[in-house]
Subunit: 353 residues, 2 copies
DNA sequence: TTGAAAGCGCTACCAG
DNA sequence: CTGGTAGCGCTTTCAA
């Protein structure tokens, strides 16, 4: 028997209040069967002893929890944070707690964090990540706990999938740029080995090819973040390829790109147009404000919650897939290409926001 | 006896492997006493059953945890995120897990989240927050768990305090501006009822008064964030007070202020100088780059960890107070005041970074 | 309205 | 090296 440091427990409170642990438990759980005078006595005892219920014991005894696990690739990127916040807020308003873990785009981290959450017997698990692990899906399927994947994975019995239609989003961005006369476009990405990121890159290439077979492209990558965007831009500018526009995999990196361009005296959008993806708040606040593709994080957080918790109305979760369509947001960072002998004539279909 | 949904447990594994639960436990905890062949058999059984140890049962049995609790006021503000990340990373490297909660600057949230963490019997609790609750300190003192407060609270037996010397930092900022000829300064804050925020406001006023009794000041406030900064600036610009410089309580809001100024055609720093506080990464990436006061988040995260965990070298935590001195970072958002008949002569002591 | 007691799944001690 | 077993603190029957 270990020397447990645990000091205050139900027993202590029960003793002090002159009742059984069962009664204390009832009081603490608001079971309305307890006589008022008893309840008061118990509450007083608990208060005086500074009693705090041991939540591990509680979960163990109950055999089920009201905690949701959330995995995100990069909390620093406001895109992930926004989804997290929406999900957290939905959870709280329905009486659920939430615990988050950062994976830093590393699949071992994803796996170990997922294990941790399973160990905690979370009531549901949301994986809002770009990385994946081959075995993870199987493991998660077997646990029977409700799962929602954003961006990766495939639907299963207990697994719902939310994904963004990057193809459509990227197409809108590229076609818009093309309409402005751009025919030499660069793509700034990160972690090209990750499927969702890779998909944006591929669809970028396809969209460009679709617009014009003669358009030129170039691809660079950094890490996800302001600094990564800046580095990528630096690399791009010294590559010999002279883009008329830079399409970034997300807004966060785009802000870094803007910074580097400014440092090198390149004007945006006069010399080079820049686009982001996600439409984070910062996209409106940077200079120039970013043209980007809007992904509704608020709504995504909501959807994730609803598919994580059984009774949250809706049909019972039955491994479905949900597709989200990004919307083009035109701001200040994009413009007509200079000397645009080929400035397309169909710009009128695009309006600034 | 509740119908527990729990399917896989030590017992199942033990049975399948033909050993006792004790042995399974030993294998899973890497106690090197187990015969290799047995170990292999157990591991195989666990694997096949997709067994995941119930961490609640584990914590309960062990009576102590290796999880640290972290409370922050606003994870969206990179300042808080940076401290969190540093702390998390220190924790991970020493084999600790971490769980975070956002308080949104609300003291009820602070209290309820703190309760939650106590319920989880965290090994240590870091409160990186600006809000406070009268009773909380007492409650925390009684729990005996190691606590570190950043920005608020007072040292106790088990409570260490880390704080920033806002007075010095603010003084550096104001004196610098004064040296550039500014004598009409506005302060943009948030949550003026919160002590740490209030302190920056007060020290702002004092610093200005110290420089010149005739200098004029004005105070506005928004919410902590980009949008809040913009709103505050909007209010300020329509207030009739015409500042030559705007001192912001933090960088995050300052970026919002920059945005509004740009929208209204006010040039920075030609027309108005702007300063932030914290020196978050974004301060370098916005336009113009922010003059600000650097607070070493990395170091703070480190310090917090060391004071949370006993053996992390250092003398045993004995309710101490740690003071951090902010350093002025001059960038592009500040300049000489126009028509500066009073441009002070002591600018040469300030150097751009 | 209350108490007694059987677990929840795991760890750690004691024997062997 | 391994098994038996007494808890850890709480919830939830079942009886009273």
């Amino acid at each position: 028997m270990p020397k447990h440091a645990e000091l205050m427990n139900l027993n202590a409170v029960a003793k002090k209040a002159g009742v059984s642990t069962a009664t204390v438990s009832r009081v603490l759980n608001d079971l309305k069967v307890v006589k008022n005078s008893t309840r008061a006595r118990v509450l007083k005892a608990a208060e005086e002893l500074k009693y705090h219920p041991n939540l591990h014991a509680r979960s163990l005894a109950r055999g089920k929890s009201r905690t949701l696990g959330i995995l995100v690739s990069n909390m620093e990127n406001p895109f992930f944070f926004d989804i997290f916040r929406a999900l957290e807020s939905a959870a709280h308003s329905r009486g659920y707690e939430v615990v988050v873990a950062n994976t830093d785009y590393r699949s071992e981290q994803l796996v170990s964090s997922a294990r941790l959450m399973i160990g905690w017997r979370v009531a549901g698990l949301a994986a809002i990540v770009s990385e994946m692990d081959a075995d993870l899906m199987q493991v998660l399927t077997d646990t029977r706990i409700p799962i929602v994947f954003y961006d990766v994975g495939t639907p299963r019995k207990n697994i719902t999938n939310v994904r963004v239609d990057y193809r459509k989003g990227m197409k809108k961005v590229v076609e818009y740029l093309y309409s402005l006369g751009h025919a030499r476009m660069a793509f700034v990405g990160h972690h090209s080995t990750l499927e969702p990121i890779n998909e944006r890159r591929k669809t970028f290439l396809e969209s460009v090819a679709h617009c014009s077979p003669s358009a030129e492209t170039h691809i660079v990558a950094g890490t996800d973040g302001l600094e990564g965007g800046r580095q990528a831009a630096r690399e791009l500018l010294s590559s010999g390829f002279h883009p008329t526009s830079i399409i970034c995999v997300n807004d966060f990196m785009a802000v870094g790109v803007l910074r580097e361009l400014r440092d090198q005296g390149v004007r945006v959008p006069e010399d080079i147009s820049v686009t982001g993806f996600d439409n984070i708040k910062l996209a409106e606040f940077c200079s120039p404000a970013l043209t980007t593709a809007h992904i509704p994080r608020e709504q995504i957080g909501q959807i994730i919650f609803e598919n994580l918790v059984p009774d949250a109305k809706k049909e019972q979760f039955t491994g479905r897939e949900i597709l989200i369509d990004p919307e083009l947001m035109v701001r200040e960072s994009t413009g007509l290409v200079r000397n645009a002998q080929a400035a397309a004539g169909n710009q009128e279909k695009f309006v600034a926001d």
